[in-house]
């Protein structure tokens, strides 16, 4: 212990402060934050940051912007409690604290269409706020669509009022080899041009090359079991090719505080993106 290589270790709890460039209300509880960072985070899709205010607190928030967004960071924050509640009261040019990026995220390389790994189909299923982290994956795919194979998006929300990023989704529709299904559980007497039903319903209709498909899921805890069941029933996709994005309580983001532990892994470090094949050893994952 006496021979610490770097005797002054960085204090990883001190955040950087970033300026809010704009805040846009997306739905009753959710707001899109666009902040300007002092330097780019160089994140992977699916990673998250600890966001907050000094003296108030921090919480884990997924990065919603593309890895190529440079000094601009986009996040969607839902009002769920204290910190998120206070963040939503901020205004343009206020400062917020950021630490990260944390977590494993997705490796875009694996998703690219290459002769050798032969991935042709990418299925992305998002429920509710689940679209937010997956957006950081979808945007780079859409922007370099020719590098990737067929894309199937299934995006579900509770009601039309809660459906996120609809106009952006609209722009994705024009991409070649791209099918998008948008659903709501309940049209709630509002105008709705998409489908009605649960995200599990369109799954069996997917036209995919089972052996060469990657599936990505993100949504509320209850969604996973049913979606996975549906996939397993209809397709024979290897477990390594299915990704899930999980949520846990997080305090440090550094794999120390223990709150996010799922069996032997730390959700903040090994996750929040896991391959389904990993979960067979993680009994607590889909609790």
């Amino acid at each position: 212990m006496k021979t610490l290589s770097d005797s002054v270790i960085k204090n990883s709890y001190i955040p950087i402060m970033a300026e809010i460039q704009s805040i846009e209300r997306l739905s009753k509880d959710e707001m899109l934050f666009r902040v300007h960072l002092p330097q780019p985070l160089n994140h992977h899709p699916g990673q998250f940051v600890m966001v907050g205010l000094p003296g108030i607190g921090e919480c884990a928030i997924s990065i919603s912007s593309s890895p190529e967004s440079g000094k601009i960071l986009e996040m969607v924050i839902r009002k769920a409690g204290n910190v998120t509640g206070v963040l939503q009261q901020l205004k343009k040019s206020d400062l917020i604290s950021i630490r990260g990026p944390f977590g494993s995220g997705f490796d875009l390389d694996e998703f690219r269409y290459k002769k050798d790994n032969g991935i042709k189909d990418i299925v992305i299923i998002a429920g509710g706020l689940g679209l937010v982290p997956l957006r950081s994956l979808i945007i780079p795919i859409m922007e370099h669509k020719s590098d990737y194979g067929r894309i199937h998006l299934i995006i579900g929300s509770k009601t039309p009022g809660e459906a996120l990023f609809r106009s952006q989704i609209q722009t994705w529709r024009s991409q070649p080899d791209c099918s998008i299904t948008e659903l709501v559980d309940d049209p709630d007497l509002q105008e709705w041009d998409g489908d009605i039903g649960l995200v599990t319903e369109p799954i069996h209709k997917l036209k995919i090359d089972e052996k060469n498909t990657l599936v990505v899921l993100c949504g509320p805890p209850v969604m996973y079991k049913f979606v996975l069941m549906e996939i397993k029933m209809n397709f024979n996709i290897p477990d390594e090719h299915i990704f899930v994005d999980l949520e846990r309580r997080m305090r440090c983001g550094l794999g120390k505080c223990g709150h996010c532990q799922i069996n032997h892994v730390y959700c903040c470090k090994e996750g929040p993106v896991f391959r389904y094949s990993q979960l067979t050893d993680l009994a607590e994952a889909l609790n």
């Binding site: 212990m1 770097d6 003296g55 223990g258 709150h259 069996n263």
Partner: protein, 360 residues
Amino acid sequence: MNAYLSNLNQIESWFFSLAEKQAFFLPRKTQGINYRFEFIDHQQPLDLFSYKPTILPPGKNIFPDGEILFTYNKDNNGHYHFHQGTAIHSQLLAGVRACDLKGIYLLDKAFSDGTKDSHYLQRREKTDIIAFNCTTPCDDHCFCEAAQSLDFQTGADIFITPLFPISSNKEVHKKQQCLLEILTPRGAELIKSLVSQKCSNPQKLIKQALENRPKPFGRQFLTPVKQLSKVIHQEDAESIYQQYAERCFSCGTCNLVCPTCYCFDTKDELNLDGNSGQKTRHWDACLNPGFAEVAGGHNFRADPAARQRHRVRRKFDYLPQRFEQTFCTGCGRCGRQCTTGIDIFDIVNDVYLSIQESKE
């Protein structure tokens, strides 16, 4: 490395002289039946070898509760300024036993894994350790041999082995000899102020001293710990965890006294001026019901049996997968201090037994 011989009288005055130079902690008997690492500040007689694992393990001196991670203030222009937290001073922990040395060693591993924890590691760097060897099991709760931490020396600067039999009811004689092994350059520095003589045949003396240790030393698992870990990893043993959970208060004592528990919560505090504050961290306990609760009220480990299982697996399965070491040192603290008498030693043996039975 070098070894020296010295007697208890000399060691005692050496401790007092060291205590004058820096914060010095030593186990001391409480008014009841326990021991506690206490700050030695005036010359009270020391009782060096009567001992049973302290209420809190010495590792908590390196990972203190409520430590300030940083402070901040906001200037008139709205800019934030951050400052390092609690100042880190050097300290000397004496009388640390092998099980707790291992505890500290495991914390070292955990806090330097991946992103390094500056607060822990910097304080660790400034912590000197004078360890004592055990020649007799501390009490009925101890199972350090079974947990593979007996004779653990890594991390100590000086390791002291008493060369005389120790029994709890007899006064040890002040003239009796101890062997001091110097394990680090820092240890060599510390020993300079001790009146002692160099020892040329330390191995032989140690061997003699330890020969009379009871065999087996303390409680033993029903099967070697490696095997135990495998069973705990593979089998759920729900009913065993459930059975213990029924008696459990979910009070978290077992976590908080454990030398290898390091989960924590952080708290952000705002000063009354509204423009400054701090972030602190506090020991947390996975046995407390709110530990895995998230916004919206979902609790990922709402069931007490699930929490009990998590604790056991963390010690014998999860962290060992990561660090290739059992994360239970066999100190026996959790069983000793659990008011309702739940002992992790019993749980793991029961898990093993239930598996054996179900096989039959």
